[in-house]
């Protein structure tokens, strides 16, 4: 009886949320703040509906991803995550969802409550501050959306890099064991014994950026994807040199270019007050990451990599005793082939689940950095910095801090639910 009411209540609340969203789209601003926001986010709703429709129709052909749509928890998580991904992409790349400039200050809008009409609005301006104004009279709604793009960009990339480092070092540590394992495990434990906040306070400061240390760390940490791909392809195709050589040259050329563009800034790999190490010239440089962003990125990868290393090492220790590994060894396969093409694919289930969880954790870490005002500049719209700026007036004007806090909560919750759904579905086979 209780179970049934619970189930109905759950469905009813989901239906209610959908009604709110739908009604908002059609009624628009006359339905209040919710309606206006709902209409403003129309592209996101459309993208979500299309994604879900396509995925549900073809779910039997999509492997683990398709199976996700059998689990309610997984679907809710996926919806939350994709909501922020689409919001980030539409708002950050196409600039469509934002109502005002996220940096400009509008006079008379300081600390105004959500839904306040714009003072002295032109005909071209959006007539409201949907979620109010912050203590510098900027639009909280637009900053929220711009901030989601910062998170959506950095968190998954940093997690991928951490995984590359962890996998490339963890597999040999688990597979070979011995001195290598002892040494690498000691290093990993060394980093893990640091309180995360202490690492951040030591690494992510303008003074450390001046010494060029983050650039050196970037040079070391970012080379791991390159090494990983090279070893992956080489161990697979080294028996067929006619395939391997061109493939390796093409792939390594591309990855090498990306690597060099990533680590060089203004034509220099490392730039300090006393010396420069020249890097890729500016006309070949695909993109520049500012020194502030680079140090944040490096710090987050540095903190995450040892944990991934430990997980991969544990999985490798477990899987290397299986029969198919023994079979491959008898066949005469090389150690790297066994690690990357026998052990790694069989460890993918736990790794995918951990990947989702770790993106969430990275989001939390980015928020922590912002909360302590480290790394990103103080006007950056990312959620942690916004929470930090809003918390000073928290008991008088809570909206400026609550909005990004709830956003961060929902994204991390979505990633956790997604991981939970994936775990459930991958255990089912």
């Amino acid at each position: 009886m209780f179970a049934k009411t619970g189930s109905y209540a759950f469905r009813a609340s989901i239906v209610l949320i959908l009604i709110y969203v739908l009604a908002g789209i059609f009624v628009g601003p006359t339905a209040g703040i919710v309606g206006a926001i709902s209409r403003q986010l129309l592209p996101v709703w459309l993208a979500l509906v299309v994604t879900f429709a396509v995925s549900v129709v073809f779910k039997r052909k999509l492997g683990l991803y398709g199976k996700l749509f059998d689990s309610t928890v997984g679907m809710i998580g996926f919806a939350l995550v994709m909501f922020w991904v689409f919001t980030g992409i539409f708002g950050g790349v196409f600039d469509v969802l934002v109502t005002h400039d996220s940096l400009s200050q509008v006079s008379g809008m300081k600390n105004k409550l959500p839904g306040t009409p714009l003072a002295r609005a032109d005909a071209t301006d959006y007539p409201w501050f949907l979620l109010g104004g912050d203590n510098l009279a900027r639009d909280v709604f637009s900053r929220l959306i711009k901030g989601s793009w910062v998170v959506i960009q950095i968190a998954p990339m940093a997690t991928i890099f951490a995984f590359m480092v962890g996998i490339t070092l963890g597999l040999p540590a688990g597979y070979y064991g011995g001195k290598l394992d002892v040494f690498l495990s000691f290093l990993a434990n060394l980093i893990l014994a640091f309180p995360v906040i202490l690492i951040f306070y030591l690494l992510v400061t303008p003074e450390i950026v001046l010494t060029g240390l983050p650039s050196y760390m970037a040079i070391v940490l970012f080379i791991f994807p390159l090494v990983f791909v090279a070893v992956l392809l080489n161990s697979r195709y080294y028996t067929q040199p006619s395939v391997r050589t061109p493939v390796l040259i093409a792939v390594l050329g591309l990855f090498g270019w990306l690597y060099l563009s990533m680590i060089s800034n203004d034509g220099a790999l490392v730039k300090t007050s006393t010396y420069d190490i020249p890097g890729l010239p500016a006309f070949l440089d695909l993109f520049d990451i500012g020194p502030g962003l680079l140090v944040v990125f490096v710090a987050v990868v540095f903190v995450n990599a040892p944990t991934v290393f430990r997980i991969v090492r544990g999985l490798a220790l477990d899987i290397k005793t299986r029969d198919y590994v023994a079979a491959a060894q008898t066949r005469g396969e090389g150690p790297w082939y066994i690690m990357l093409w026998e052990i790694l694919p069989n460890a993918r289930g736990p790794l995918i689940v951990d990947f989702c969880l770790r993106i969430g954790y990275t989001t939390i870490l980015l928020g922590t950095l912002g909360f302590f005002g480290l790394g990103l500049e103080s006007e950056s719209p990312d959620w942690g910095t916004t929470i930090n700026a809003g918390r000073r007036l928290l008991s008088l004007y809570p909206h400026a801090a609550i909005v990004p806090a709830l956003a961060l909560l929902s994204l991390v919750l979505g990633l956790n639910l997604l991981a939970d759904g994936l775990r459930e579905e991958s255990l089912r086979d």
């Binding site: 209780f2 179970a3 619970g6 189930s7 928890v73 000691f186 434990n189 060394l190 893990l192 014994a193 640091f194 309180p195 995360v196 906040i197 202490l198 306070y201 030591l202 690494l203 400061t205 003074e207 450390i208 001046l210 010494t211 240390l213 969430g360 939390i364 928020g367 922590t368 909360f371 302590f372 942690g384 929470i387 809003g390 918390r391 928290l394 008991s395 008088l396 809570p398 801090a401 609550i402 806090a405 709830l406 961060l408 909560l409 991390v412 919750l413 990633l415 956790n416 639910l417 939970d420």
Partner: protein, 361 residues
């Protein structure tokens, strides 16, 4: 067992040594020293003035030498200025020659001098640790029992609605970092203009203006439920979900064991099965998780102490790090590293003691 503990202690000492050296090296990089000189002297110092300030105070010696001085295995620096003043790491100007100690480092029990607080590092750290200890005590008091209860209730009947809702609750808490839950709690429970407090005050249910106090500064002297509950709750909530999930996993595993089935078939009451047969075995895994969670709480402590303005150990870390107070920061990192490693050791030993099937050779 004795050999195992000794070996672990050796590793701990080695790790602590490496970590303190890394912290020492990072804080002694020149831009950091320059910032220190400018905050201690004045911000418009010329480069030469900075160099002479640092040189006079022994900051420009090679890093390994300075590290040795800090440890107390290398004689401390001594400077003689042009106007005849003699002072050093271990003594001030005017100390008679006979009373000048040569070594003063942590081996001699001297943790140095804090440039921010203008007092000795040792007593400062101990005072702040005491305050954080009080916070941690209440956090553990709230977190551990509630996490275990949630985990056991969820795990005892796997797949039921109770399990699902409790599991979702634990996922939600692990997805809420302290700076998010703290902000929400303050806005909802501790604001005199928004949230619950104005409503409750209007109905006359609470005497004060707010339900809880949004700042824990007054809790440093005397902690009450009113001014101390929110920071404690904020830290506990984030750590709780993980412990609850581990307890649930271990409980579900135990509940499928043969001896539980036997007990059920014998007709033992379900409550007796849970309390007498399952619980003991199910609590072995959470014990290690709780111990390993303590270093994680340290992060939460730093965030919450900043947010609620409670001047404990985490607040000290922030002050030391943002002002590059080298010796204070070193002491803080030694303490936190020792906490991390000691809890790891305790969790290993406890695991062996609790689980007789495991033997260490």
């Amino acid at each position: 067992m004795g050999v195992f503990i000794l070996r672990r202690l050796g590793v701990i000492l080695l790790t602590a040594f490496c970590l303190t050296f890394i912290v020492f090296w990072l804080t002694n990089l020149y831009p950091n020293l320059e910032k220190l000189a400018k905050t201690q002297g004045n911000f418009r110092m010329s480069d030469e003035a900075v160099a002479s300030y640092l040189g006079n105070r022994g900051y420009l010696e090679p890093t390994p030498l300075k590290f040795g001085q800090w440890l107390g295995v290398v004689p401390g620096w001594v400077t003689e200025t042009q106007d005849g003043k003699v002072f050093g790491r271990c003594f001030q100007d005017g100390t008679p020659v006979a009373e000048r100690p040569k070594f003063c480092g942590i081996l001699q029990g001297d943790w140095g001098y804090s440039t921010v607080f203008k007092e000795d590092v040792g007593p400062t750290v101990i005072k702040r640790l005491g305050l954080t200890g009080k916070l941690m005590f209440f956090v553990l008091l709230l977190m551990v029992p509630s996490a275990l209860i949630v985990g056991v209730l969820a795990g005892m009947r796997e797949g039921t609605r109770l399990d699902r809702s409790l599991s979702t609750f634990s996922i939600a808490t692990t997805a809420t970092p302290e700076y998010v839950s703290g902000v929400i709690f303050i806005a909802v429970l501790a604001s005199s203009k928004f949230g619950l407090s104005p409503l409750l005050a209007e109905w006359g249910w609470i005497d004060s203006k707010t339900l809880f106090l949004g700042s824990a500064t007054s809790a440093m002297k005397d902690a009450t439920f009113w001014n101390f509950f929110l920071p404690v709750l904020t830290i506990s909530l984030y750590g709780m979900g993980y412990i609850a999930r581990m307890t649930r996993a271990s409980m579900t595993e135990v509940m499928t064991a043969q001896y539980i089935r036997t007990a059920r078939l014998k007709g033992v009451k379900f409550s007796n099965i849970v309390m007498k047969h399952a619980l003991r075995n199910a609590l072995i895994a959470p014990f290690t998780v709780i111990m390993l969670q303590i270093p994680w709480l340290l992060n939460g402590v730093v965030i919450v102490e900043t947010l609620f303005n409670y001047k404990g150990f985490g607040w000290l870390l922030v002050q030391a790090a943002s002002n590059n107070d080298i010796e204070l920061l070193l002491a803080v990192s030694v303490v936190s590293v020792v906490v991390v490693l000691a809890t790891q050791l305790i969790s290993d030993i406890g695991y062996v003691l609790l689980n007789p099937r495991i033997r260490i050779t």
